[in-house]
């Protein structure tokens, strides 16, 4: 009897809650208020393939941290009282990304999709976001197309891109004295794009690309290129590799075997994640320069956040982890300012917004093309003798200010 009474009370309570929601600001989804009574953030990324370790499920944890921090900050005054975090695996396939994005926006009522690594998948999701008029903040993909010819009102690009990688490493290393480059790149869209951007950056800084060679992708034997390097005329001072993942590991292992550093040919990496350094061991890469969007041990604030992240995710954060956190947080802040999760109102709040958070220093979202501008760094891999704790692999050499790190807005972008 008592059990029955409790059940009845629960049902009644539930009824009141539902009624409360229906009567709340979300009703009807009209101007203002929260649609469906809750804000839904969906992390769509690679959870089992080649990018799973550097973003994947750990980025979902980062987004949950952002939700918790938002709630803690605003408490009773939070506009978004009910925030749900979803995740889905796009397997790095553009067609899967496309259908998952549609499903997330339509059936699962996602208000925001985050991450989506690999450029083809990101462009597919940007198309869906545009058609559905829902917000998409891309972190994982590097292509500048997202803020170029294929930009749209609902898509934001957050964290890094090929221009920033090329400009940071190519121009800085050239200005530091390595004038002659030999570039080896994987023969597919990303590699070709990187090769083009790097060549432009090196030449812009007064350097020369002696030769650039396309390598098969994937490839486990780079000896041909490594042997060729010292014989080029003029002899390159730096080998720029645009390889990623397993290919990068293969190339660096062989670079060390051929002792090219001893022969006066330094190594610069187009795109490197901290997980790559971990794979190779810092000694294999010691001295290598690359552009880093964010480093967990780069400042006391970063470190404090990284400690918190480690307690939930069990590892040190990569830059995509931190960028996912920041994107989710800035989205929720925009919802707070707008007083609604209506996409058009939130876009208006994000455009031109300037802010500071643990990921974005001197952050601002450029209104013309929705690219996040923020300070980035030229980093160098430490030799293991200088590594004092697990995952402490990087030395920050210099900061590239937000207004110089990224390209000027592309006139091809019409929002």
């Amino acid at each position: 009897m008592r059990a029955l009474g409790r059940a009845a009370a629960a049902v009644a309570a539930a009824g009141v809650t539902i009624a409360g929601c229906a009567g709340g600001p979300g009703a009807g989804g009209s101007a203002g208020g929260i649609s469906d009574g809750k804000v839904v953030l969906a992390v769509l990324n690679d959870q089992s393939g080649i990018y799973a370790d550097l973003s994947g499920k750990s980025s979902v944890e980062a987004v949950k941290m952002a939700v918790a921090d938002y709630k803690a900050k605003y408490g009773d005054k939070a506009v978004a009282t009910d925030v749900e975090v979803l995740s889905a695996d796009h397997q790095n396939k553009p067609e899967v990304a496309n259908s998952k994005a549609q499903e997330l926006y339509d059936r699962q009522r996602a208000d925001l999709i985050l991450d989506v690594p690999s450029s083809a998948a990101a462009l597919a999701v940007a198309g869906v976001a545009k058609a559905k008029k829902k917000i998409f903040m891309d972190i994982g993909a590097a292509t500048t197309e997202l803020e170029g010819a294929q930009c749209n009102k609902y898509t934001f690009h957050y964290g890094y891109n090929t221009y920033m990688l090329a400009h940071g490493t190519g121009a800085t290393v050239t200005k530091d004295g390595a004038k002659n480059w030999y570039i080896v790149y994987p023969d597919y869209a990303f590699g070709q794009d990187m090769q083009k951007n790097f060549t432009a950056a090196v030449q812009g800084a007064g350097g020369t690309v002696v030769t650039s060679d396309p390598a098969p992708f994937p490839n486990d034997n780079f000896s041909t290129f490594l042997l060729k390097a010292p014989g080029l005329d003029p002899k390159p001072e730096v080998l720029g590799t645009m390889q990623a993942g397993g290919d990068l590991v293969n190339l660096v292992k062989q670079y060390n075997e051929y002792k090219l550093r001893d022969k006066g040919i330094g190594l610069a990496v187009g795109l490197m994640f901290i997980t790559d350094i971990h794979s190779l061991g810092p000694d294999a890469l010691a001295g290598t320069k690359f552009t880093e969007a964010w480093y967990w041990n780069g400042s006391p604030e970063n470190r404090a956040w990284a400690d918190k992240f480690q307690s939930v995710a069990g590892k040190r954060p990569s830059f995509p982890n931190a960028a996912n956190y920041s994107a989710a947080l800035q989205y929720l802040e925009a919802v707070q300012r707008a007083g609604t999760d209506g996409a058009d109102a939130v876009v208006k709040q994000l455009e031109g917004h300037t802010f500071e958070d643990v990921f974005a220093r001197n952050g601002s979202i450029r209104a013309q093309d929705h690219l996040l501008l923020h300070d980035v760094h030229l980093a160098q891999v430490k030799p293991s003798a200088e590594v004092t704790e697990p995952w402490d692999y990087e030395k920050i050499l210099s900061t590239i200010p937000a207004d110089q790190a990224f390209q000027p807005a592309d006139p091809a972008c019409k929002l």
Partner: protein
Amino acid sequence: MLQQAFNGLVGGAFYAMLALGLAVIFGMLGVVNFAHGAFYMLGAFGSYVLLDSYGVNFWVSLAVVPLALGLVGVLLERLFVRRLTPLDPLYNFLFTFGLALILQDLVKRRYGVQSQPYPRPALLDGTVDLGLFTYPAYQVFVLAVSLVLCAAVWLVLTRTRAGMIVRAATERPELTRALGVDVGRWVTPVFGFGIALAGFAGVLAAPMRAVNPLMGADLIITVFAVVVIGGLGAIFGSVTAGFAIGLVSALGNLYVPALSQTMVFILMAAVLLWRPAGLFGREEALS
């Protein structure tokens, strides 16, 4: 140029070792072992795990890992392959293909997809002066070991009674059986040996290549082409073709980088047009 050719031979050493294992297994059992690449990957991961968790060094791994994988091969043959052999060859094809996927995914689940670190053994860290040029010691070692290994296998096959039986059973299983040799008894150790060889190549690869779950899958396609070029089931042919393909792809990288990956398959097509059974294969093996 000479250095590049040498290079190609080092790459070819891996093809040769893997092709050798594939060839004996195919010859004797008629099984196209799609899991061969996965065992190569397990060889590399085996040495990584031994070093990382138990501090076992490279040299011990080089002996222990192939042995352990060889035993796994023996078990597999006893438990599955043997039962499937009398059926349509498609069954063993599906079995080994499925096995490869499962092994890859198990490793992926446990260790993720990023590559695992494996340092070069200290003894082979330097370079060797080969007269005409200096070369990384480790690569010279890989080439030497694989040549010695292939030569040893060749000697065993040509100079011993057991080798004679295996060779006969590999190249003409029906006839050998008709002569009163119990071919079945030889099948298990040969299968185990083939797997051990793949594992051995994996251990050798760990210090110079990315150790990740897909390393075998990426390589095995080329190795299949090698075996076909050499002539299915032809042991000598597979080894020769392995080194030859290594050479061709290294020089291809140098002169026509865009074609270097397709080169192997262009060569395969050309060889098959000229000799449908492969360079060293016999026409009757096709029927």
